[in-house]
């Protein structure tokens, strides 16, 4: 079955259910609204503790150049995500697969950068248990990293599922919804990067 056949079948089914608004998209938007509060609470905690460093190191431990580079990588992954979605809209499944893989790899690059950065900080004396600053920093960036990792799993999962043509709009995992999630995780990083790294300088 080709992609266009699948989407045609989908459209017929959706019409039968009187779906004017795409149900799954509404659900994902509500979920992301909920995520805003989740990250908002952690960002507030970090703002409260940004200078409560105790005996441990503070913001001077950050390597702004390095983190700027990895932030750039993550932002570029939003671009490749858009390209993947665009290819999918054009029914070009092979291109979509390429861009999805690219997005996943950029995500992995960002995560590797984060792991490297965490290792450096731990060697520099900043642990979760060092100070309220350390606790808030690792919790916020760590939960963001976990979100990126889940996003990478979904991206690569979609690539694997698409190999035998089993990727189409009715599945829970579809390119538009994963795209929404991925862009959200990127946008949150822009806030985190600003609050955690840039405001400290």
């Amino acid at each position: 079955m080709t992609l266009s056949e699948m989407t045609a079948g989908t459209a017929g089914h959706e019409a039968e259910h009187h779906d004017v608004i795409p149900i799954r998209k509404v659900a994902v938007w509500v979920f992301l609204a909920s995520e805003c509060m989740f990250f908002g609470a952690m960002i507030s905690t970090f703002l409260l503790y940004r200078s409560t460093t105790g005996d441990g190191p503070g913001a001077e431990i950050f390597n702004l150049a390095f983190t700027s580079a990895s932030s750039f990588v993550l932002l570029m992954s939003s671009l490749t995500m858009v390209l993947a979605h665009h290819a999918y809209e054009r029914r070009d499944l092979r291109q979509a697969r390429v861009w999805l893989t690219g997005t996943g790899l950029l995500g992995i690059t960002f995560l590797s950068g984060q792991i490297f950065e965490f290792t450096e900080f731990v060697h520099g004396g900043l642990k979760l248990s060092t100070s309220p600053f350390g606790s808030a920093f690792y919790m916020l960036t760590g939960f963001h990293g976990a979100h990126v990792a889940i996003g990478v799993l979904m991206l690569l999962g979609m690539v694997i599922l698409s190999l035998d043509g089993r990727i189409y709009a009715r599945r829970g995992l579809n390119i538009e919804l994963v795209g929404l999630y991925w862009h959200f995780v990127d946008i949150v990083w822009i806030v985190i990067f600003t609050v955690v790294y840039l405001l400290q300088v």
């Binding site: 509060m37 609470a41 599922l161 829970g172």
Partner: protein, 618 residues
């Protein structure tokens, strides 16, 4: 003989057997499972309350140790909030919401099953703490630094992990309800034609979606403090942060608990007054206003924390203001009864009881918004009296009213009226005997959460009265339990519309068939079913439209797509709870956490690859 004959009068509701319930994705069955689980939790939490009341019946009692008392009052609060009132709201919403908006199921039936199983398993996790190292004993609010101390015992880990999992279940359910309301309404069912109950369910879902993540972060922080040596609330961190995190969730949560009951009462009063709800838009918009303002009053729980006069004055004003939309609703309800042809059936009695008790609780609540008064009342039994008037006198009265009202729809049989009257009067008297004296005790200085009190302070008499009242409440619920069990088997056959109802659920058989509606209804007005039955004459009186023929016996409908049963939701939920147990017993539990993670991932994987409504079969 007669039994079988009667049984045949009731429509079939799909296959039976335990496996069909475990794998069900039917919103009605999930609603019933929520109700049964919550009802069981109610009896456990009620037993805990009775033990507390036995301990406090007189001065210097030694029935319970201080340690046992701490566990019991903490678990009573946690169970009542997360295991009883929230899931009973979810039970009503699950069963009624899709039918009231003319849909065949919720937007995501398997996610719905997942929410239920995760809730049920998490409640089991929390209750199992009694035999697995001790129950949480730091209050349902888990204030730091008390909750971050004593890291070698797992009690407050059960709190942080259990509440976290319950939060996940509630967020999933809320997203489901919001998507259902926004996308699955029947043709013509505009937002302002939805029953008030559906509106309140929508507000509740939004409150949960926005407030639970904050609580989730707080619980993670508590968990990290206890298990990974973080400093969020202790040793350098600020314990006040926990109070903010908790009450930013905890106050919206109060409206999560009461709004479904307000919705239920707004359905019952018009039916038994034979009048439309007075000022429907006001009831709806005041509900929305309560939702918004609910996020702006949390500091009134923290007046004695020393936040300074500016914060206290500001939140005092916002707390006074939130009483306004609540008051609007009460006048709307009174206006609905006013001039109506009132039938005092059991649901109506409980609904009126709700209004009366909630007004008392609301008024004592307004006294908390005044900072100097609140400083005096803080942490005394006055507060206990107040919130039981809104949560028991409000939410539980409303839910019981709803149970008597919709039981015929759920089972096809009526609850016994005489037993219902006994239930109502005993519960009303017992409730007031228990909780009204607490106001006096509190103003006389009796502190909350203290396991005993000395003689000579003048607290003995009112405590004895309260304890007697508590046992009367217990008796009334035993009568209710007997009524439910008996009526479910032998009650009078209800028929589709026993109360002459106004909303769509009364237009379909009792109990409804699995697909709810043979034909999706086309809605033309608010209270659509009423307008199908009645028209008005020149003087504005309701006149019955000539009786239509009985709806044709449900034909076989092969063309209706229903979601296929699935066991992946229960697998995913079981995996998450296994992870939960692992996290409670860190570091040894790490193995269990990994096993649980694997179960969860395989459950989710199977879930996302499973064909939806049998499309692979075709």
């Amino acid at each position: 003989m007669t039994m079988t004959a009667e049984r045949e009068l009731l429509p079939r509701t799909g296959p039976n057997g335990i496996w069909s319930w475990i794998t069900t994705v039917d919103h009605k069955r999930i609603g019933i499972m929520y109700a049964v689980t919550a009802f069981a939790a109610l009896f456990i939490a009620g037993l805990e309350a009775l033990l507390i009341r036995v301990q406090l019946i007189g001065p210097n009692q030694e029935f319970l140790s201080a340690d046992a008392y701490n566990q019991l009052f903490t678990m009573h609060g946690l169970t009542m909030v997360f295991g009883v009132v929230m899931p009973i709201g979810a039970a009503f919403t699950n069963y009624l919401l899709p039918i009231m908006i003319g849909a065949r199921d919720v937007a995501f039936p398997r996610l719905n099953a997942f929410s239920y199983w995760l809730f049920a398993f998490s409640i089991v996790l929390m209750m199992s703490s009694f035999v697995l190292g001790g129950a949480p004993d730091g209050g349902w609010f888990g204030y730091a630094p008390l909750s971050t101390e004593l890291r070698e015992v797992v009690r407050m880990d059960f709190f942080s992990v259990g509440a976290q999992l319950l939060g996940v279940a509630s967020i999933a359910a809320s997203i489901n309800f919001i998507a259902t309301i926004f996308t699955m309404r029947a043709p013509g069912m505009t937002m302002l034609r939805m029953p008030v109950f559906v509106w309140m369910a929508l507000v509740v879902a939004f409150l949960l979606v926005f407030s639970l993540p904050i609580f989730g972060v707080g619980l993670f922080q508590l968990f990290f403090d206890r298990n990974l040596g973080a400093h969020f609330f202790s040793s350098g961190g600020d314990p006040l942060l926990w109070q903010h995190m908790f009450w930013l969730f905890g106050h919206p949560e109060v409206y999560v608990l009461i709004l479904p009951a307000m919705g239920i009462v707004s359905e019952i009063l018009p039916t038994f007054s034979r009048k439309p709800l007075f000022g429907y838009p006001f009831v709806v918009f005041s509900g929305i206003a309560i939702g918004f303002m609910g996020f702006g009053v949390w500091v009134h729980h923290m007046y004695t924390a020393g936040l300074g006069p500016l914060a206290e004055a500001g939140f005092g004003v916002s707390t006074l203001m939130i009483a306004v939309p609540t008051g609007v609703k009460i006048f709307n309800w009174i206006g609905t009864i006013w001039g109506g042809r009132v039938r005092f059936e059991v649901p109506m009695l409980f609904a009126i009881g709700f209004i009366a008790m909630f007004v008392i609780g609301g008024l004592s609540g307004v006294t908390h918004s005044v900072v100097p008064a609140d400083t005096q009342q803080h942490d005394t039994y006055y507060v206990v009296g107040h919130f039981h008037y809104v949560l028991f006198g409000g939410a539980i009265f409303g839910f019981v009213a709803g149970a008597y009202y919709w039981f015929p729809k759920w089972t096809g049989r009526m609850l016994n009226r005489t037993l219902g009257l006994w239930h109502f009067w005993l519960m009303l008297i017992g409730f007031n005997l228990t909780f009204a004296p607490m106001h006096i005790l509190g103003l006389n200085g009796m502190p909350r959460r203290t396991y005993t009190y000395p003689e000579g302070l003048g607290w003995g008499f009112w405590n004895a009265i309260a304890s007697i009242g508590a046992f009367i409440i217990g008796l009334s619920f035993l009568i209710f339990l007997y009524n439910v069990v008996r009526s479910a088997r032998r009650g009078a056959i209800a028929g589709p519309d026993p109360w002459d109802g106004r909303t769509l659920e009364w237009s379909i058989p009792s109990p409804p068939p699995p697909h709810n509606f043979d034909e999706i209804p086309h809605v033309t007005s608010l209270d659509d079913y009423w307008h199908q039955k009645y028209t008005t004459d020149e003087e504005g009186r309701a006149v019955r439209i000539a009786e239509r023929e009985d709806p044709a016996p449900a034909a076989e409908h092969h063309d209706i797509h229903l979601p296929a049963p699935s066991f992946y939701p229960i697998v995913a939920a079981a995996g998450l709870v296994t992870m939960g147990y692992g996290f409670v017993y860190l570091p040894a539990g790490l193995v269990a956490a990994w096993i649980g993670a694997l179960i969860t991932i395989s459950g989710l994987f199977g879930w996302s690859l499973e064909p939806i409504d049998g499309e692979a079969a075709t």
